[in-house]
């Protein structure tokens, strides 16, 4: 069926802020979908509260609403826009849940909005556990038997009915805490007892275990005419039991024979037909490694992380096609954009392998529980392509940027007992433990018994380990060995380390030996048809097929996997940089390795290289293309970190001179610079060893901030107010990694923090806006609630900030973007830090001010004196608030208290006419601002008690019941605020939370120490899903004054308002 012409206006729901389990893949999906609809002449309305995304650009949709993703706001938008249809299957679980709610509440019907694509009934058939189960039984497809138990007796009866082994899953525990496999009655009872007590609703699920089974996924497309096909299948290297988002995944499947491949393919098609999905769908299946028995694990009746991966793995744009199917097209009518002359109704054939490895946040949360299970813990992922598994795996490992360039060498010191334990209990580093086991001579069989990973994968890992060991043991690197290890794509960095030769000498040895990479094309069809898509990967297993060109190109380095501190905002910047490069008439070449992103959509760049962002890989691309400049300011710290090494090898780096980049990253040079410009800064010292730290702290005076050098996201930063706290910390440090030294110690100034993103063209600068942080200094800028225009900064201070920014830009010869953070205390403006690159706030400020910041930055890098406006731009007549979102409840043992280390995974944006209203909208994901809490439990550290009284008094006056821990209660009492005292006893606190408690206020002295009761209290609050305020300035949001409305406006509407200030509207 062709396009349904009656659809004039369609709403697409985005996925909101990034949280673990829902990342940039939905920006990719949503962006594709918006463009797919727009090109059919449909007016697209996009709703997404996440400002860091490409999809919320006014160029992607016709009307962009960055409004809270809740029913009242979405309903307002629908009333205002009066769309013909809505698509909810492209915005992850958020979009899906919203659309179901809109349907169930009768809002879609009332407003006459048609749900496009998969129907609500179908969504529920896929999502609702019981409905799905029944449907599978009806069509005769096996699902693992399971039952809910609320007592140990029930659990035992069910387990015996179903038969062992059994998987026990407690309901609603953090990170799946308390679950486990049981092989017999005794083990079962032990797990059930623990699980029942941990589950806030006292429930466990008793399920047939598929321990050790293969986990296989199929990505399916289906249209209205029932044409149904597979885009890609994938195999998890880790067997069933680890969330697929946390598994190492390979595409296509490797260990299935054709019979099994086709059997599961048929099952997938059958299930998707039964559910009646229109568009894209993901199905996960467990397959017994010793037979052809299988169980269907799960179906996602929408595009997903896996569909983004499948799209990048094959070149087939699933979300685009799903959007086209939703508006009436059938797959055979849609051209395959990769080949241009075949159609979307076909199954891609690969002539390479793809390996995905998840990126975990445990470098940021060393205290987090690293054991992997059914709760996803990864924040992002990398993908690598090669013509062998070994090659793709090695490329993926170096794409992770986790510090290791090889499989071996990481755990050589661990005891055998510990090693075995790590093999049996999967953690994020299991691949490296497996490698260590091979290095110690374990056999494939040994490791298979311990890990249940298929022998095929283990043989491949073994082959890499053997090669690594061989180089390590050889005194002279032979050409033959070099060829062998490079064919396995072992990194130059490792070869260099193992042989003691420099990376450059390894590179020249390769050249002399004629070892060369071929750049091969991803074409969906294994070479059968000519492809027109400029999407490439490198391999040492074949010749080059990239067309040489003499046209000068600019290489834009992407930001790699999403991690805390480096999120989708840098993909936004990379994509805009690419577009700007093209606009200025250059060829844009993009390198990145994150399959979730828009930057790795082959339609963004003139040429896309899906490659690791490590020196050897970047140099290889530079050699193939006529690169006249590398843009390093847009891919976060990943790209900046490459600048020096590239520069040393004569590669032209665009923007700020590399020597000057170092000036802001090296403390001494930085102070010299600030001194020379007479710009105040907060005195800091560098400590090179533990003892020194205490001495320097005494010199500086408390409170102090302590942090290791060269970090992203404030990793391992702490604020200490007393010497004993510092001493405890340094004692701990002695036993941990040496890599963190030297440490920086700064005097901690608790003032107003603000930041600017400056665009400089070498002469002039422009500052589109100053963002003020709501929380006083000490909270990482990524975790703070920020507001623009600033509310407590004077005009004079703004002028000073602009002047300092100008001075710094000129001194650093900055070209392009630079982010400067300030703190204002007692009228003095201190410079806190400079990031010589684009930042998290660039997309936010770009969107609300309508200044194409990245485009101006690229222009400034490529042209002289390109800035047309200069100075601090006029503030918008409306307020914008950026509010951080934490992946609470996903990571056990992680304390989400606000502090100098970044912990949030995403953010939402709210825009309103007044700052109060903007704040009220921003807080929606945490707290319904139109509601007052009925009761609050307060536990406030001594130093904050005074300050807390004001807001607590206000709450009390509004009729909120206050509970308080003894110390806090005492103080409140002194101030004449009555409260009910609650002992610092976890059982008592838990009982209170179970009964009724609307919020917890827990303001700690120091976070991240598990033994502290505050941490336990916050963990309990997360378990019971009770909002927890950890900073007084955030708590203030509960007592905001002003009218409560659900007014919604599109971004373009705000922009118009900027042209016509408030009050003059027609």
């Amino acid at each position: 069926m062709p396009l349904r012409k009656e659809l004039k206006k369609v709403v697409i729901l985005g996925s909101g802020p990034i949280v673990i389990g829902q990342a940039a893949e939905f920006d990719y999906a949503g962006t594709q979908a918006c463009l797919a609809l727009k090109e059919e002449g449909i007016e697209v309305v996009l709703i997404n509260s996440n400002p860091a995304t490409i999809m919320t650009d006014s160029s992607i949709a016709d009307h962009v609403y960055m409004e809270p993703m809740t029913l009242p706001y979405v309903e307002e938008i629908l009333k205002k826009e009066k769309p013909d249809g809505i698509i909810g299957t492209l915005g992850g679980q958020t979009g899906l849940n919203l659309v179901v709610e809109l349907y169930e509440k009768g809002i879609l019907e009332k407003l006459n909005v048609e749900l496009l694509g998969t129907s609500v009934e179908s969504i529920q058939n896929g999502e609702d556990r019981e409905k799905f189960r029944q449907l599978m039984l009806d069509i005769g497809e096996p699902v693992p038997e399971s039952k809910i138990a609320v007592t140990r007796e029930e659990a035992l009866t069910f387990a015996r009915e179903i038969g062992y082994p059994i998987m026990v899953r407690p309901a609603y525990t953090m990170g799946g805490e308390g679950g486990g496999f049981a092989a017999d009655d005794n083990a079962l009872l032990e797990i059930v007892d623990r699980g029942l007590s941990l589950s806030p609703i006292h429930q466990v699920l008793i399920e047939k275990s598929m321990l050790g089974w293969k986990e296989i996924e199929y990505e399916v497309m289906r249209d209205e005419n029932d044409t149904c096909m597979i885009v890609c299948n994938m195999e998890n290297m880790d067997p069933v039991g680890i969330h697929t988002g946390d598994s190492i995944v390979v595409a296509p499947s490797q260990t299935l024979n054709d019979y099994q491949y086709q059997m599961l393919r048929n099952v997938s098609l059958k299930v998707i037909r039964a559910i009646d999905v229109i568009g894209g769908c993901n199905i996960q299946i467990g397959l017994n490694p010793e037979s052809n028995d299988y169980y269907i694990i799960e179906v996602n009746p929408r595009v997903s992380r896996s569909s983004a991966l499948a799209s990048k793995a094959t070149g087939y744009p699933i979300a685009r096609m799903a959007a086209k199917c939703a508006i009436g097209f059938t797959l055979d009518e849609l051209p395959n954009p990769i080949t241009g002359n075949t159609y979307a109704a076909f199954e891609p054939a690969l002539d390479y392998l793809v390996v995905k490895i998840p990126r975990f946040p445990f470098d940021k949360f060393p205290e987090g529980d690293r054991v992997l299970g059914t709760q996803m813990k990864a924040t992002g992922e990398v993908m690598a392509i090669d013509r062998s598994f070994e090659g793709a795996l090695n490329k993926a490992v170096r794409s992770l940027e986790s510090g290791h360039q090889s499989l071996t060498g990481l755990y050589e010191e661990v005891s055998q007992e510990y090693l075995n334990e790590q093999l049996m209990t999967p953690t994020d580093d299991r691949l490296f433990f497996i490698s260590e086991a091979f290095r110690r001579g374990y056999s494939v069989k040994d490791i298979q018994l311990l890990t249940a990973i298929d022998r095929w994968f283990l043989h491949k890992v073994k082959r890499i380990v053997e090669a690594e060991v061989k180089i390590m043991n050889q005194t002279d690197l032979s050409e033959e060995l070099l060829i062998h290890v490079k064919q396995l794509n072992v990194s130059d960095a490792y070869i260099s380390k193992a042989t003691g030769k420099t990376i450059d000498s390894i590179m020249s040895m390769c050249k002399e030996a004629g070892i060369q990479r071929g750049m091969k094309q991803v074409d969906t069809c294994a070479g059968e048809f000519e492809a027109i898509t400029p999407y490439f990967y490198s391999t040492y297993l074949g010749s080059d097929e990239v067309q040489k060109t003499n046209e000068p190109g600019i290489l834009v380095l992407g930001s790699g996997p999403i991690r805390i501190g480096q999120g989708v905002e840098f993909d936004y910047c990379s994509v805009h940089a690419t577009q700007a490069v093209k606009k200025l008439g250059y060829r844009a070449i993009v390198m990145n390795n994150n399959p979730e992103t828009v930057s790795t959509d082959y339609s963004v760049a003139d040429r896309l290289y899906f490659e690791p962002l490590s020196l050897e890989d970047v140099l290889a691309v530079i050699e193939k293309e006529q690169i006249i400049g590398v843009a390093v300011q847009f891919g976060g710290q990943t790209a900046v970190n490459l600048a020096e090494e590239l520069h040393e090898r004569g590669v032209p780096i665009l923007g700020t001179p590399v020597e000057n980049i170092n000036k802001v990253e090296d403390r001494d040079q930085f102070y010299q610079l600030l001194d020379s410009l007479s710009i105040p800064y907060i005195e800091g010292k560098m400590a090179y060893q533990p003892g020194e730290m205490e001495e320097l702290a005494a010199e500086l005076g408390f409170p102090i901030i302590v942090r290791p050098s060269y970090v992203i996201g404030g990793q391992n930063m702490f604020i200490f107010r007393h010497m004993d706290e510092l001493k405890r910390y340094t004692q701990k440090l002695e036993s941990s990694s040496k890599k963190m030294w030297p440490f920086l110690l700064d005097r901690f100034v608790e003032g107003i923090e603000c930041e600017v993103d400056v665009i400089c063209d070498g002469e002039s600068i422009v500052i589109p806006g100053i963002m003020e942080h709501l929380e006083r200094a000490g909270v990482h800028s990524g975790d703070s609630t920020a507001i623009y225009p600033p509310v407590s900064i004077t005009e004079e201070q703004k002028e000073t900030i602009t002047m300092y920014s100008e001075k710094l830009s000129q001194a650093l010869e900055c070209r392009g973007l630079m982010n400067i953070q300030f703190v204002i205390e007692q009228g003095i403006i201190y410079v806190l830090e400079i990031n010589p690159r684009s930042s998290r706030t660039v997309p936010v400020i770009s969107k609300v001010t309508n200044v194409p910041m990245v485009e101006w930055a690229i222009k400034a890098q490529l042209q002289e004196n390109s800035l047309e406006t200069t100075g601090l731009l006029e503030e918008t007549p409306y307020y914008t608030v950026k509010f951080p979102i934490f992946s609470n409840g996903k990571l056990k043992n992680v304390d989400h208290v606000l502090g100098p280390e970044m912990k949030s995974t995403g953010e939402v944006l709210a825009i309103a006419k007044t700052s109060e209203e903007a704040l009220r909208k921003a807080i929606v994901p945490m707290w319904d601002p139109n509601k007052l809490p009925s009761s609050i439990l307060c536990s406030i550290s001594a130093e904050h008690k005074e300050a807390a009284c004001d807001v607590l008094m206000k709450l009390k006056e509004k009729g909120v019941a206050l509970y308080a821990t003894p110390g806090t209660a005492e103080l409140l009492n002194d101030k004449g605020i009555s409260s009910i005292t609650i002992k610092k006893d976890l059982d008592e606190i838990e009982a209170l939370m179970k009964e009724e408690l609307s919020a917890v206020v827990s303001i700690p002295t120091i976070g991240r120490e598990k033994e502290r009761s505050g941490f336990q209290m916050r963990a309990l609050a997360t378990r019971y899903k009770i909002p927890c305020f950890t900073h007084l300035d955030t708590l203030q949001l509960l007592v905001l004054e002003g009218s409560k409305t659900f007014e919604v406006n599109s971004l373009e509407h705000w922009h118009q308002m900027k042209e016509t200030p408030i009050g003059q509207e027609g």
Binding site: N257, D332, E347, L353, G527, F529
Partner: protein, 357 residues
């Protein structure tokens, strides 16, 4: 491993590692399937050919006792990116490379098969040889005879069954065609490719299936008349070469495709419903659509990619045929229902017979 070469008709040479000391020559074709290498190499339609696997890692799950499509391997050689020497599968009885060695099929591995495939796509199918030494002089490329007489059964083989009796005309049938019929309860008699009309009549079949097979259908022009007579009398189903033979027997013509269709991902559109099915294909020739006009055949399926003829149905006679492989193995079984359709064809004929007599 010893170095070896694939030398092509156009003079191009691809280097690799030779498994075994054997050499071979034949038409070089490529297959895009990512699984099913055992089924593919044992498909008699590849007789005389050297298969290039596009997917670089072949042999991952080894070989087993269940998945071969014929007893013997009739292809001449195999070219791969990598052959897995440590296969992993509960059914595996050995490695793929060993299997080839034991059947004396030369194979060349470690080849950049993507470059090779792109060359075949651009130049069209070429002859080639796998050799241990680079030839000094120009290679003389012989044109091969038809391999159908080699791969076809030499005498009648009967498989009893309760259901309709099907004569399977063997031009190089895949075992899965037989098992597809058997799974519907059919009694099957497999007959040599040169069986006469009278011999078929003597068997008193309820339906006749013309199998797949290797090479140019024109090479079997001697059988066209027999095929015409059979298909005018019996419910007839043609698969792949069988489909081409039916078209030729009724006056259409065939021609060689530039590089054929070989893989598990070929979309065909069913014209009646507009639905697309993904099919398994393996053919180097096509029925020329323009020549169907006076044959009484109507088009039922077309290839979505290049618009070539994928299925026919006769207006008067009870004939259906498809260019693709509904029996799958390797590949998807989306069109397995065509065997049921064949059974319906037979039932309908039965009704007609009844009505006429």
């Amino acid at each position: 491993m010893k170095k070896g070469y694939l030398v092509l008709e156009n003079g191009a040479v691809f280097e690799g590692d030779l498994i075994g000391a054997l050499e071979a020559s034949g038409e070089v074709v490529f297959n895009t399937s990512m699984t099913g290498y055992q089924e593919i190499v044992s498909d008699p339609s590849y007789a005389g050919q050297i298969i290039v696997f596009c997917y670089p890692q072949i042999g991952n799950y080894g070989i087993n006792h269940l998945d071969s499509e014929s007893e013997h391997l009739h292809l001449h050689g195999v070219v791969t990116g990598e052959q897995c020497e440590e296969p992993s599968h509960y059914l595996a009885t050995g490695s793929f490379s060993n299997g080839l060695l034991q059947s004396e099929i030369p194979s060349l591995t470690g080849v950049d098969t993507r470059s090779l495939v792109k060359m075949l796509r651009e130049y069209g199918t070429m002859k080639g040889q796998i050799t241990a030494e680079l030839p000094n002089t120009n290679v003389e490329w012989k044109s091969e005879k038809s391999f159908v007489p080699t791969v076809s059964v030499k005498e009648k083989t009967h498989y009893p069954g309760e259901g309709p009796h099907i004569v399977l005309m063997d031009y190089g049938y895949k075992k899965s065609i037989l098992t597809s019929l058997q799974s519907l309860g059919c009694a099957v008699t497999i007959m040599p490719f040169d069986t006469t009309f009278e011999e078929v009549v003597d068997l008193q079949p309820d339906g006749v299936l013309l199998s797949n097979g290797p090479g140019d259908p024109e090479a079997l022009s001697g059988t066209f008349e027999t095929i015409r007579l059979i298909s005018e009398k019996y419910a007839t189903f043609g698969i792949c070469l069988g489909h081409q033979l039916l078209a030729l027997a009724h006056g259409a013509s065939t021609r060689k495709l530039p590089f054929g269709h070989r893989g598990s991902n070929h979309p065909v559109k069913h014209l009646e419903t507009g639905k697309v099915f993904i099919t398994s294909q393996n053919h180097g020739y096509e029925v020329v659509q323009d020549t169907l006009e006076d044959t009484g055949f109507a088009l039922t399926f077309v290839n979505l990619n290049d618009g070539t003829v994928e299925g026919l149905k006769h207006h008067h006679y009870n004939i259906q045929s498809v260019q693709f492989h509904p029996e799958a193995h390797a590949g998807p079984s989306d069109t397995a229902y065509l065997f049921d359709a064949f059974m319906n064809q037979i039932t309908r004929t039965g009704d007609q017979h009844y009505a006429f007599t």
